[in-house]
Amino acid sequence: MSNPRPATIVMLNEIAFYLTAALVLIFAIAAMTLPRLVHCAVCAAGAFASLALIYLELDAEFVAFAQLLVYVGAIAILIVFAILLTNLQEADPQVRRASRSWVVGVAVAAILLAALGLPIITTPLLQRAAPAATAAPVRDIGEKLMTTYVLPLEMIGVLLTSALLGAVVIAMREEPEVKTKVTRPTTPALERQEELTPR
């Protein structure tokens, strides 16, 4: 930014960020811990939507709306359908979801934190200065997608299409059709009539 923003605006932005970040975390924790699966799915959708808010705060309008369209509009619905189609009876509240052994839990968490944290700390992106204008117009995104990144875009398109076709093939697999002849009492008159009728 060429002109420094007033201090109050910066402070308000920070407050907004912490609020939305808290929202994401609350929804995410709720999505993991709530006892009923549909509630979890709804909280996951809430987490997706609050992530879109964070993108909006970063001036990434396109990413935010795409996030809303894809995650809340499609993936949340997919999760809900998966729950409905697979798990009709509610989970037994006596069964604990989390692993009993806290040692394993801490170990897994530490490994995950290291795996994610190390690249973030060592990334060269942090050394680079922030770009002057963060808001990328949609036109620029579109041009980049159609010129520089056209090959990855096409590859993703082909990949998704083949995944779609594969899903259809798996879902539509039929049992080998058993030819059952309908047995019915036949009278000679009826048989003769059937012979007469053209097929």
Partner: protein, 396 residues
């Protein structure tokens, strides 16, 4: 002419100017929000009575005529009835989600109005990717409808919600695909920019609205069909099919929550109609220069009203589809046609450099043939499927 045209903008600026400077942006925003909610809330009340009256007229009966002159106060009576009705929540229902579902349906629908340009300089916000915002907001209503159906713990509600989701996901594809050619023509995703791209006149008298091109006519038809399915209106109102599902996902709702669903449904219809006017009918532009004395918001209202009347007319005319017909129609007819339409639009745009005499006629012929052949072919193929004996996968 200019004063009348900008009257709402002027009033809004004047009212905001009365507030102290520190809170002026906030007051200005609140004024726009209040105006939008007032106008479209009023539209909702008006449409319910107009719809019932028109349906009555078309079905050879009177329609509501007891409350007030010509039954005009019927919406107020309906509203009072809804507000004072007992709010019944089923014993086994999921109380939190049962309460949240109508809210989650109605709130995003209001947001969709924020990007629509209702007149010259009359829009709440000009987003760089406004139409993406519109569709993103619209896609959240599916989850709300599912929650309504699931939280009621009633099989009819759940079946209705499943139908609604299948239908809305299917028809979202042709809806978006039908709007893509407009974005190519305007080379922008911002709705005010799309309206500006349709200004001016071809040959001196034909407005440059998108609907006056081969791909525009086809796109408009596809858009309107998909829009009526998206807003669950007849002939696509299977989610509420009262003859088989009582009232679908609305079965366990009563009183004000039911009214909220009703409101959300109509507001969704208004929003998508406004988008149709903006994308294909030139938004707030006048159809001829000598008609420009009618203010821009007046033209928007006229086109908007005409499209709403079209929806009512269709509802009074057509019977309801069957579910397999509905889904086949979306995937086997509308989606391929929308893709063909995209190709035609690109061809139309590419051929705009042709200079030889009669180029316009050749382009029109080309566009019409390119659209008519797939239309007839797809229609015949679909007809064959439909006239074949029905085969039930899971119910035989």
């Amino acid at each position: 002419m200019n004063a009348l045209d900008q009257i709402f903008v002027t009033i809004q600026h004047w009212l905001a100017g009365l507030a102290p400077a520190a809170v002026q942006p906030l007051v200005s925003m609140l004024l726009i929000i209040g105006g939008l909610m007032g106008v479209f809330g009023g539209c909702f009340a008006l449409t319910t009575i107009i719809e019932r009256k028109t349906l009555g007229r078309m079905q050879n009966r009177f329609g509501p005529n007891r409350v007030g002159p010509f039954g005009l106060l019927q919406p107020m009576a309906d509203g009072l009835k809804m507000l004072t009705k007992e709010d019944i929540v089923p014993f086994s229902a999921d109380h939190i989600l049962h309460f949240l579902a109508p809210v989650a349906l109605t709130v995003p629908v209001w947001l969709a109005f924020s990007v629509l340009p209702f007149g010259r300089n009359m829009y709440a916000i000009d987003l760089d990717c406004g139409i993406l915002f519109f569709f993103a907001i619209g896609s959240t209503s599916e989850l709300a409808i599912f929650l309504a159906g699931w939280s009621s713990q009633n099989k009819y509600s759940l079946v209705g919600a499943m139908r609604a989701i299948a239908q809305m996901i299917s028809y979202e594809v042709p809806l978006v695909l039908a709007s893509v050619p407009v974005l190519i023509a305007a080379s922008s995703l911002s709705l005010p920019a799309i309206v500006h791209a349709q200004s001016g006149f071809a040959l001196g008298w034909v407005p440059r609205w998108n609907v006056f091109t081969p791909w525009g006519i086809a796109g408009f038809a596809l858009f309107m069909i998909a829009a009526s399915a998206e807003s669950n209106r007849c002939p696509f109102d299977l989610p509420e099919g009262e003859s088989e599902l009582i009232a679908g996902y609305l079965t366990e709702y009563s009183g004000f929550k039911y009214a909220l669903f009703f409101l959300g449904e109509y507001l969704g219809l208004f929003a998508v109609t406004g988008l149709g006017v903006t994308l294909f009918l030139g938004g707030w532009q006048a159809p001829a220069t000598w008609l420009e004395w009618i203010p821009s918001w007046g033209w928007f209202a006229l086109k908007f009203g005409a499209l709403i009347f079209l929806f009512i007319w269709v509802r009074a005319t057509l019977p309801r589809l069957r579910l397999n017909q509905l889904l086949n129609f979306a995937w086997k007819f509308l989606v391929p046609l929308a893709v063909v339409n995209l190709v035609v639009a690109v061809a139309w745009w590419q051929s705009s450099v042709w200079q030889f005499p009669g180029a316009l006629e050749v382009r029109w012929l080309l566009g019409t043939v390119l659209l008519a052949v797939p239309y007839v072919w797809l229609g015949r193929a679909w007809n064959d499927v439909e006239s074949a004996p029905r085969h039930y996968r899971y119910a035989e």
